[in-house]
Symmetry: C2
Subunit: 255 residues, 2 copies
């Protein structure tokens, strides 16, 4: 069998999800725990990379024996979260585990993913939100949040998102299908949620930085569509910091 894990992690201490030469990653910690629980070296394949400092509430990853399409274990799926969690650092938690088909691929099989970008709009910083939300001390009023929501709506649809990403503009196909995008306020929090079939490098963070500029009146919401058609990164806002970003949910076709 192949095991699909649903994982939450506080990204602050990690250089993102995926194993890399420098810095500790979430994948590395999962590898160590899986080896201890299943008694063999394992392959842990994640649903995506996440940047350093980005958090996850519902990251998905599969576990198989290293070099194999499956895993033999006597540990029932229902017991796997607890078994892994006692071997994982406190800032990573396996929430669920279930069996999936051997041909299930946690990254190529993704139908869509939903991210939340969290702004904290209280006047003074909140000690309980360090590394968990982007603090914007200056008040964004109801009209500003409405404009941000209008701008978010302009992201929805199948578009060329060349202008809303960082890195090499020729790296890969820049067309993505955004299924939903909205901005809502709840108390001192402003939440930007976006669901798409895939995301370019820094795409959610560039969207979040752009929405802040919309809220501040620097970019009119009505101009989002034509600015996107210009395919010019400079027409959009700064890349929002990683620590406000949460990979919230991953959807697979069967679900």
């Amino acid at each position: 069998m192949k095991i699909l894990l649903k994982i939450a992690y506080l990204g602050t201490a990690y250089c993102g999800y995926q194993v890399q030469p420098n810095g500790v990653t979430v994948q590395e910690k999962l590898n160590e725990a899986a080896k201890a629980v299943f008694g063999v070296d394992c392959d842990i394949v994640g649903c995506s990379r996440t940047d350093s400092g980005v958090h996850a509430r519902g990251f998905c990853a599969t576990v198989t024996k290293k070099g194999s399409a499956s895993l033999e274990t006597s540990v029932p799926a229902a017991r796997i979260p607890r078994a892994l969690n006692v071997r994982l650092p406190e800032d990573i938690s396996v929430l669920e585990a279930r069996e999936v088909a051997d041909d299930f691929h946690p990254r190529y099989g993704v139908a869509s993913k939903e991210y939340e970008y969290l702004f904290y709009n209280g006047a003074e910083r909140d000690p309980f939100l360090i590394d968990r939300a982007w603090h914007i001390p200056r008040q964004l009023d109801a009209a500003a949040v409405a404009a941000m929501n209008e701008a978010a709506a302009a992201f929805v649809g199948r578009h060329d998102f060349s202008a809303l990403r960082d890195g090499d503009p020729d790296e890969k196909d820049p067309v993505r299908h955004v299924l939903a995008a909205s901005v809502t306020r709840s108390g001192d929090f402003i939440s930007f949620r976006v669901r798409a079939d895939g995301f370019l490098y820094h795409m959610v963070r560039v969207m979040a930085g752009t929405l802040l500029e919309v809220g501040r009146g620097k970019i009119p919401a009505k101009e989002i569509s034509w600015r996107m058609s210009e395919k010019n990164r400079k027409l959009f806002g700064a890349t929002a910091p990683a620590h406000g970003l949460y990979l919230d949910r991953v959807f697979y076709p069967a679900e």
Copy 2:
């Protein structure tokens, strides 16, 4: 004038509020920031001590020139929070500042204080709640929470709380007036709130540990009153860990 500050802090990194020979305290950090902002050594007097690891959402403290009953400053009260916050570590935040009379005493003048003790009752640990709630993985059902709330109600009134504290039983007058105490569930959180005119050493944490035993059926809610009358610490639960405790609000007579 004398300045009253309302402060929030994440207690994780601190050996409590009050300056002590070993370990960093919140008071020490406030002293450093106040000296930088007001240009003189200051006395910072807090509304209470808090244990190492305990958090605060509404701690109160006064600032005066060292050895004096007041402070001369050209900084308007409304600007003081921001001025202090840029000099404080991120896990301490001054939320408000206002002028009070020179004879105002932030500790002796307290009418009552309200604490919250937070239990996290999700099956698997939540990485975002490390050091912020006491994780109780085993589900406490509605009947258990109702029993906890019934037990909390038994704390209300003017009682001898000798049995609900740690440390020297002869230390001081053990009578306190609990004005309100309740237990409520919201999603996976169980919150114990208690307001009193004062608290003995570890009193809220012994109450919280006791309420957990009530929820687990080890201590019947109906026995709280007679157990209190026995004045025997052994008839109550273990001291709950510091990291679930929040000093929430401080009330002064004028308010």
